[in-house]
Point group: C3
């Protein structure tokens, strides 16, 4: 079981294929497939029948990561091919590129990225879909997440004399989401601080949902994200249908992960606000920024290794 | 020459690339390209001119197959990128996923699949495009085939004391074809029986069109498929434009393959019926289920090995 | 640094991954990513502000090339996944296939290709995007290039007793560009002659923009292309929106590359004409063939190796 945080390339892979040439080039080739069969049942008075069968390839991803020239230059490319992944359930422009980013490792505590990847937003979004407890993320996530964006990313680790560790993450990005065209001169600014008072989780467990590692001592991570997306043109900033005008969106996210002896608790609070969330066109139609707040909490217990 | 039946992952590959790690992981990476230049000539009175040139990449497929954890868990993924493969000749939603299925081998005679793959329908459809005699499948196939679908598949081999072998194949699937969204609560049920009275063909020759193997003794396979697609919403069930309402489609397919000393005969009969095939919308437009029947027969002779 | 001319498969690769099986099969797997952040500033009276930020994955390509059966049969497949690469900035049909061509080497001086690839048109277009000096090609190129097409390609090298070398290149193609459907019976004919009076450039330097090789002696290549695209249905022949009727387009291209001790000069002249460039529909709307001419000239100096 490899834990992925979707925040840098993986240099050790237990599944998938790894190619290397001296220390000049490394490529890991991996794929992920999630097939799903389910049904939706809606209680309508006396009837609790099956309303819909949902049977489909929910996720099919192809991933290339590794480094070029030197381990300091890492890349991470993820292509996605299912209908939902391509954004063809909701839109009509096929979007196969999920991640396409180059990382440069400045030193042990600092690395920067340039390209398209997940913003340092709410924890559940940054956790890779392969490490979720449920088949999909929460409804709150779908409304308020910062999702992916294109820009410059920075990741800094602040070590202290005690066991406590602080992670600082930031991004300056287009604010218009995956594979956006050039639209206007508004950018998006995201900053995140994570405090791990009892030190690092085993195997990056702060970014996987279950306590697969059965932490012997309690581990805690508390995160807070602030984001300002200037002149955004979509109802959720990086996601959603187009607005009739541009708006500035402000997001506040607070989340925490706690793990201890097989128990895992994850909770996150997300909110978005905008000064004037409603936009209109000349015909009087209305489209609005999704403002408000949401909470998502999980409790989990691993039975055994 | 590798024979593929598109009904399970290939564990031996002569072309393409094979990666393995102990017996924990195997990935074959292969591609198939079919470039085509042709012309259509239509006889109109005195004129037998060229009507259209058709010059294009007809098929371009990338395939990953192998196993994970154990050879009992096989996967088969096929992505397609040409315009026709993506369904962009007839529709406007790009559909790169052709196959994405996980197989579990229960024992030597029984394996099951979960995901998207070809239904056990008419023989020519299940024969991989690399093993056809002509560049495309028949017109009858395009109207009446069951094509691909998402669901649960089962394959059982019944061996007898004589040389005769029976294959039982079945599927419970969404009935709405490749990469469908959740639509309604109707499913599709497909059952197929194949009788091989003289035993197995060499190198899976019952699922390739020419007798590449020059069978020394006569070999015969007779197949019969029954399918009921409940609450289908497309004119051909798994294929075709949308109907204005849902209908239940019933299909009967009978086919046979005979091979002997370089000679090959393949024949198939397909029919589809529906109680009330015509659907209308409020504006009075009509869309109908493609009902009727078709026959497709080939005779071939290999000149030499 | 590998120089690519996009005109045949690469059999030696310094970057990327190479698989081979005896001399029966070779596959190189490579990718190219171009991430871009920029801004457009438009001077309007007193204001020189930033008009737009452009932040996106501009190019993301996956390439497979090598040979099958024998080094005489080479293939070259390039898939592209960024929004611009998929033609989704300007159109609404996803076009992931850029190149899909099979080459046959007749002898040391002659090889032919069948499939989709770049036409032997203006030099800057044939230079691979990884070997450009600027991030994008010229505006003249975007209006007058012959781009990619599907058809039969021939490449002949004429060696002389002196150092002079002549290259003859030709193609008979559909004339309708990448991944076109069958439209009408018009074809496109392209012929190109290149004269290299002082012999071959080091490392195919006539098809890379900077003089990375610091040519010790002056090297020159002069090219001239003539093209007739019969019954074309797009405003630029192989590119552009659809016309209301078909037209025959004639193109003349003259270009040159000169390199000497780190200096590089590239210049190209392109023109397109059509007897009756304007097409109308019944509603009186107008769409026209892009006729006219353009010039693109670069001067470059490498500072050091």
């Amino acid at each position: 079981q490899t834990v992925e945080s979707d925040e840098r390339a993986l240099l050790n892979v237990d599944e998938g294929i790894k190619f290397s040439k001296d220390s000049l080039f490394l490529m890991n080739l991996r794929f992920r497939m999630q097939n799903r069969a389910g049904f939706n049942s809606i209680y309508s008075g006396s009837n609790l029948g099956i309303e819909q069968f949902e049977m489909r390839v929910r996720r099919l991803r192809l991933r290339l990561d590794g480094y070029v020239l030197s381990p300091k230059f890492q890349y991470y490319i993820q292509l996605a091919f299912s209908k939902a992944d391509l954004d063809l359930e909701t839109g009509d422009i096929a979007q196969p590129i999920r991640d396409a980013i180059l990382y440069y490792t400045v030193n042990d505590n600092f690395y920067i990225g340039f390209g398209q990847s997940k913003l340092p937003g709410n924890r559940e979004r940054v956790i890779s879909s392969g490490n979720l407890q449920f088949a999909d993320r929460s409804i709150a996530n779908s409304l308020f997440t910062l999702d992916r964006d294109f820009g410059i990313f920075g990741y800094y680790t602040l070590r202290t004399k005690s066991t406590a560790i602080f992670l600082l993450k930031g991004a300056i990005s287009s604010g218009d989401g995956r594979n956006a065209s050039a639209i206007n001169n508004g950018l998006s600014f995201t900053g995140r601080l994570e405090a791990l008072p009892f030190g690092l989780f085993k195997n990056s467990g702060d970014y996987s949902e279950g306590d697969l590692e059965f932490e012997i001592k309690p581990k805690l991570s508390i995160g807070i994200t602030l984001s300002e997306n200037q002149k955004a043109v979509r109802t959720g900033g990086q996601l959603g249908p187009e607005l009739f005008g541009s708006r500035t969106l402000n997001s506040l996210i607070v989340d925490a992960m706690f793990k201890y002896q097989g128990w895992g608790v994850m909770s996150e609070y997300m909110s978005r606000s905008s000064r004037d969330p409603i936009t209109r066109n000349d015909a009087g139609d209305i489209r609005f920024v999704v403002v408000g707040h949401g909470v998502n909490t999980h409790l989990s217990r691993m039975i055994s290794k």
